[in-house]
Amino acid sequence: MLQQLVNGLVLGSIYALIALGYTMVYGVLQLINFAHGEIYMAGAFLGLYLTVSLKLPFPVAFVLAMAGAALIGVTVERIAYRPLRRSPRLAVLISAIGMSIFLQNLSLYLNGPATRGFLPPFKVYPIRIGEIKTSSLEVIILVVAILLMVGLQYLIRRTKIGKAMRATALDKETAALMGINVDRIISYTFAIGSSLGAAAGVLVGMYLNAVDPMMGLMPGLKGFVAAVLGGIGNIPGAMAGGLILGTAEVFGVAFMRSEWRDAIAFAILIVVLLIKPSGILGQNTQEKV
């Protein structure tokens, strides 16, 4: 039991990192950024090349992969979403799906279809605490994910940029009247969300020792489910949703069959949409007139 819980939390912290990208972008643009899974994939490839090919020290490579993915995320927004700012939401959604397919194919072209191995560039030790078997890699994943989430929470709650992001998410027009450059805030949002997705990509790439151009598809969808589960647009919700989804999946696999792994996630999505579409922490905003 405890063993499954640990596995679930490791997986869940990854989903949470991915979910944050969806939820932040949704918060400011009410857009499901379907290209987010591909940002995660791009992050994994960047991490692979920077550590294995360029032999950079891991922390440096990790930060550079996040920065590189942030740049890709900001570029995607500039090219595919910003010109459609005043278009119907469906148009932007289709543009997002198109961007997702484009990035997958670009990656296939650049990297080839084969799955690459991504051995962690540091030694991994098995760790045993009583009945629980884990590894130093799992501990690193959990710790890095938690640090990133705490950092994000600090940024959103305490810094001027973070407050401006929340203001922009609540009311773009009024935010502009405050002297906030709304386009710039949207770019920051994409940069931060994408860098978290890339961090997840690098961590998973090493965890599974596998990186390939299509790897963003399923985790991307799972991250989306986690975001909806927690209440889309809600940052603590995305974190909670990720952890719950990861844990539910691991327990589901333990008690049922492993092929049902993905079915569990999407069953959760359907149940949430039926019972509480606003998610666990989602609130219906009320306005005083």
């Binding site: 401006a164 929340r166 009247l177 009320q286």
Partner: protein, 233 residues
């Protein structure tokens, strides 16, 4: 201070402003009155840069500002208190005020915060509360305080009396006069014509996107056409 000439604004194919001209001099309170749909809010949004005019000019302190981005216009010293208050409901009162000062880089933000708390002591008491929990009148005070945090030279107020109890309206209007007395020029949009004209120096009457009348506020108050159409005579 602000000169608008032949301003036209469109929403798609609908011409909302059909060539408006008006002028605001430094230190004045100028009011725009008129019925729903006359173009009052559109005029303010166009000044603030939220809507791009299709024709005409807006000159602020000798500089053409139409077509500039809203954040650039705020930095030049024009702030707006939007219709319906539009406070950031899930941000605290304090955070709302901080957002008002977003474009500033100077060290005197704290001093101005104290000034706003001086004008509206209730906001100081409630500074840690989410703005969404305030009453309508308190939200209006917050919206005004927030705009003042940008240290505007010209303050645009859109329907500050909307939906408020008469006593609170009186308080808010006293404060508006107080702000003006301390040197901020004010452009006030109101449906409550009597109230607006009683505090303003001059007024413009808008009808279907055009200026119908322009005069000193006192004269408009006694103008039979205004009395008939807006003051319920």
């Amino acid at each position: 201070m602000l000169v608008i000439k032949n301003l036209e604004t469109h929403y798609g194919n609908i011409r909302a402003l059909k060539g408006i001209s008006l002028e605001i001099k430094k230190g004045e309170i100028v009011t725009l009155i008129g019925a729903n749909g006359a173009g009052k809010t559109t005029t303010l949004k166009t000044i603030s840069g939220l809507i791009k005019p299709t024709r005409g000019t807006i000159t602020y302190e000798g500089q053409e500002i139409s077509g500039k981005a809203p954040d650039a216009i705020v930095q030049m010293g024009i702030s707006q208190v939007p219709e319906g208050r539009r406070v950031f409901t899930r941000l605290t009162v304090l955070e709302n005020l901080e957002m008002g000062a977003y474009a500033r880089r100077d060290q005197e933000i704290g001093q101005d915060m104290d000034k706003v708390f001086g004008l509206f002591p209730i906001l100081k008491e409630r500074q840690r509360q989410p703005a969404g929990t305030l009453s309508g009148g308190e939200q209006q005070m917050l919206a005004i305080g927030r705009a003042l945090m940008a240290r505007p030279k010209l303050l645009l107020l859109d329907e500050p009396s909307m939906g408020l109890a008469p006593l609170i309206v009186r308080t808010i209007f006293n404060i508006i006069q107080n702000i003006n007395a301390q040197g901020t020029t004010i452009l006030l949009v109101e449906q409550n014509a009597h109230l607006a004209l009683s505090v303003a120096d001059r007024g413009y009457v808008l009808e279907t996107g055009q200026v119908q009348l322009a005069d000193e506020a006192k004269k408009l108050l006694n103008d039979p056409r205004v009395r008939k159409a807006y003051l319920g005579d």
